[in-house]
Symmetry: C4
Subunit: 273 residues, 4 copies
């Protein structure tokens, strides 16, 4: 399996065009954050904003509004009980991330399904966390499966693909991903990305093994898809940079907090643009 | 069109007089922040406080109180359902900013109209965001139009002036602004300010093209009008400094967050006072 | 009038005794923060905690709890509707600050009066902001007036003393303060402290003339009284240090935010202990 | 009594294994934070997350959710009125900390008892603050007392052991701790840890004597037990590091805030791993 290389960053992270406005850099919508897991969607939102997305909107439980704005006032907020607002916001989105801290209730499923079935022709979806589990439990048809990125860890991949962890070999994973027709970011000690190509991330450090790191990765992938070309290479760049920053920060930290990765994003991206 | 120059900063940013108190540096009132767009008014408030305003009060939906005080305890807060408090606070204001994250509901319009029709002889208004759209939709008479600053982006200017974006030439814009009788800060790649003079901002970077940057600019304009001479040159200085800080921070950042501009304000202003 | 000198800092800020616990450094209770002025009590609380107080409790409107804990989790919180909790907390306090952002309603007055009339023999009170105005409006008897510090600005001092601002000469102020029998910190361009001695603060900068600066001063005075000897010299030290830090930060800032003073407190205090 | 030595840190803080995931570094659950003392559980949570715990969940009053996520979005949150959620979260925990800001009501006791009586065979409990007082008042049987760490200050130890402070000699303390069969961290000027061995912490500074410092220590102990071997030596390492960081920060600070200790944890731990 080919290793990802640093050159993917300079390839994908373009210099921002001089004549531009915030719309030029995409509209991202992030859906998640139950009453129990609100921090997850907050961390995804910070990653998405600090990654350079033009406009970021969070759809979440209203108990999470105050903390979101205390941390990331740059993001807009939609109460997920307001289905009228949800439709108007998701319709114009370039990329929709569903899953960080979503939960697995009936309401959560309905919201996921509403977004999936309304996927637009030029719209990409990133399916993370409990949204993966829900997708595995209640199979649904994605209108544009090749514009969908799944970001499972190994157990979630088992649920989604039916492959027990011990049988998650490269060949099996590639077969399963072809059946899905989507891009799969299989998170582990050495994260692998399955798509037209199969690549492995040579970076990563155990200092990054802490709650919220996956939510942050999902936010960076969403941010990159919102502003750069929508392709699997862009997903590669997001995966690589997330680990590169983590390794860099881990040089003098025993544990790297997810929010520290996001804080560092603008400076690291500058070096590769 | 004349370019703005750095000298506008030393011209406007005065050394604070030794014998002074917070009242010397103006009373600003900021109106906006619905349940969906609360971050906008928070960012405007931070810009206003960090710009050196003596007293800053935010009038907003109560769901935004906690996040405001977590970020900017220096600002006071008025629940926008309390019309008795609104009147007493706006009456003594030197400058009132209406619009960041306001929304376009009937209630929002009523609040805007209440403030516009009560404009005092020495009071300046800054009309931003959805307040511009509301002004375009339901024309209203400003008691002192020459003490009003509109801060539209091109689409909002189209709504307000009737000029399609393709026809927003300098001559047309100047005509439209004369009809309004106000100052117009037309935000774009190279922001232009129309008033008695027409000037263009030579600064700005695509790293600043991200949600909330306009709210922050509106907050700086408000802050400058609150404490310096109330004139179009003061608006020029605010526009110029906003971009100057953005360019400076963009030297090592791929994207500049609006709140980072505000954080940097006190140090940059010091250099020009 | 004698100027305050730097030596007051080394005289008052003692080296903390090796054998000690948080109780050694005093119990402070801060009362204030209405729904409109919550930021004021938050800023006072931060100053009180960062000044080295052993235990700090805030009594305020419950809408202010979240923002307080987001900024200063070190402080405890009591909902000011819970009179049972208020009594148990104030009873054991060494110093009680009343006023930052309190408001002037009947409920506010009742709370102030409850605290004033229950002043204990070894308990000091700091009366700030709207609590001064309430005291002026509805005169009340302090059980131990010589253990009370008033921190008016000139207009509040006019209300409290009956002296119009133009007549607030040193002689008149000293007379008025003798009638009160308390310590008066008269805040202005050059703050004066009236007590057994009359002293003037030679420090201070217009960069400090911004909303919340007085709340922060009140918090530092409270903190110093909680942990050092309870005397007017301790008030002098608090006043002097507040301005010393402000001047220092103003060297490269056009405006100094109140919370920046508090952030800097532990490092400045270290230099004088 | 043997003094703790710096070597305990290198002995306990292991290099994180390359092949790992967040589960490798333990599941911690923290229970506390009433409406009055919410900051305590927030500070414990920050210490637990920044100490490197894989997954941290806070069980608390819902009024504390917003401030927790504004400060530590990495932690998950469970409303302590939801007994169904509490059971599912505590069941899978490796370590449960009960006590920071818990309060002493009947409901608080019921929650404590529920957790104590359900202690699993491989589960450690850390009993702090008001949970110690409740344990003293209403004795309960711990299923695995040797997997329980009590963290009393001297007055709480008096309540728990029946030993008046004046009689808390090493011999008496050791006897009392043997009766309990647990580990006792007796906090004071020189903290002592009683277990199979009795050791004394030679570090500590009066700059650490401020509200919340004990909550932070409890969070670090919990974090270390969650990810390192569950043993009394691990408790020793947590106690030693907490004071080591405090002493280091106190070199240029008059008072060290608890949250500053937590912020510094990842860099200090790196030096010893």
């Amino acid at each position: 399996m080919d290793p990802l290389k640093e050159s993917i960053l300079t390839q994908i992270i373009r210099k921002r065009p001089e004549e531009s406005h915030k719309g030029t850099f995409g509209r991202a919508v992030l859906v998640g954050g139950s009453q129990q897991f609100g921090g997850a969607i907050l961390m995804a939102a910070q990653a998405c904003v600090y990654g350079g997305t033009g406009l970021t909107t969070v759809i979440s439980d209203p108990v999470n509004r105050s903390a979101l704005h205390a941390r990331v006032p740059e993001a807009m907020f939609v109460d997920w009980h307001r289905s009228d607002w949800i439709d108007s916001v998701t319709e114009s989105a370039d990329v929709i991330l569903v899953g960080p801290g979503l939960g697995e209730s009936k309401d959560n499923f309905d919201l996921l399904q509403r977004i999936v079935t309304h996927q637009k022709e030029h719209q990409w979806l990133v399916i993370d966390g409990s949204a993966i589990t829900l997708t595995a439990k209640y199979p649904m048809t994605f209108p544009y499966p090749d514009q969908v990125v799944f970001t499972p860890h190994q157990m979630e991949w088992q649920r989604l693909s039916g492959l027990p962890i011990a049988e998650q070999s490269e060949a099996h994973n590639q077969q399963a991903r072809e059946k899905l027709g989507s891009i799969v970011v299989l998170k582990s000690h050495r994260t692998q990305v399955y798509g037209a190509q199969s690549v492995e991330n040579p970076l990563g450090t155990p200092a990054m093994a802490t709650g919220g790191m996956g939510d942050t990765l999902a936010g960076i992938i969403t941010s990159f898809l919102a502003q750069f070309e929508r392709s699997e290479e862009t997903v590669h760049a997001a995966v690589y940079l997330h680990s590169l920053i983590g390794e860099s920060l881990a040089k003098d930290r025993y544990v790297v907090l997810p929010t520290q990765i996001s804080d560092a994003l603008p400076r690291f991206m500058k070096q590769y643009s």
